[in-house]
């Protein structure tokens, strides 16, 4: 990741150097070579820098530390370290059932074709709430948590498909009529309001 960022910064530095040349001496473009150089410096390189920058920013926005860097998300980040296997996010994070550095994204991403775009638009409204208006005291997912996000990994898995409870309600689960996190099933999720009273797991201890 640092390698790609390094290459991108080098590319940006080159683009800045070329753009600075045309800022100081625009007469360079009088010749054919200057015109080609201007096309590279003021069109091709900036387009490349924006495209690569957008790709890098999209990848960064999938990182756990990106998600929990907002104050309102901080208790949700801490809930990943709860020392209790009943806590579904903590269990997935601590046992690497999801990539630890993409823990939020793995379970909250919209895995449909326009999902990443929808996620970004939702994210921008949350940034607005965080910095312009007021974030709600209790954070809820609009429309509820979709089973599709669980089934993205669990569907087809032997431990999931072979469980008699899952088999009995499989249609309801797949059509999202019954939530995986409904009461009596996997209903202990982040429980962020109680986080200060819970025992925490400390990696390496």
């Amino acid at each position: 990741m640092l390698g790609f960022t390094g290459i991108l910064i080098a590319l940006i530095a080159l683009a800045i150097a070329l753009a600075a040349l045309f800022l100081i001496r625009p007469s360079v473009t009088a010749g054919a070579t200057g015109k080609i150089l201007a096309f590279i410096g003021l069109f091709i390189l900036p387009v490349l820098c924006v495209s690569a920058g957008m790709s890098e920013q999209m990848q960064r926005s999938e990182q756990t530390r990106f998600c929990i860097s907002c104050h309102a998300m901080e208790p949700y980040g801490r809930s990943l370290y709860v020392d209790d296997p009943n806590y579904i996010p903590a269990q997935h994070f601590q046992n690497h059932r999801v990539p630890a550095d993409q823990a939020c994204y793995a379970c909250h991403a919209d895995y449909t074709i326009y999902g990443p775009l929808k996620d970004k638009l939702k994210g921008i409204t949350r940034i607005y709430m965080q910095y312009v208006s007021t974030p709600p005291k209790k954070i809820v997912i609009s429309g509820g948590y979709s089973n599709l996000q669980c089934l993205h990994c669990h569907a087809g898995a032997r431990s999931f498909e072979g469980n008699p409870v899952h088999v009995a309600i499989m249609d309801s689960l797949k059509t999202n009529q019954m939530s995986c996190i409904s009461s009596g099933c996997h209903d202990t999720v982040h429980n962020a309001s109680e986080i200060d009273h819970l025992k925490m797991w400390r990696p390496g201890q």
Binding site: A15, F43, V50
Partner: protein, 72 residues
């Protein structure tokens, strides 16, 4: 005021300044992993670079086109 009236050097300078500022904003956004860094890049950096590119392309169309007298 017509865009072509500004002249090629002025338009190139405007494009260069916009692109340089946009690229500096992009570097700043890359040094920071935070939702605001994404907003800074997407809404400020990319917009400045985009406008700079458009000014450069406009300079090719308007300022670099030969005048009526030169066309004969």
């Amino acid at each position: 005021m017509k865009l072509g009236g500004l002249g090629l050097p002025t338009l190139l300078r405007i494009a260069s300044v916009l692109i340089i500022v946009g690229l500096v904003v992009e570097i700043v956004s890359l040094c920071w992993i935070h939702p605001l860094a994404f907003v800074l890049f997407a809404f400020v950096g990319a917009s400045l670079i985009g406008i700079g590119i458009l000014v450069y392309l406009a300079s090719l169309v308007f300022a670099a086109s030969p005048s009526a007298e030169n066309r004969g």
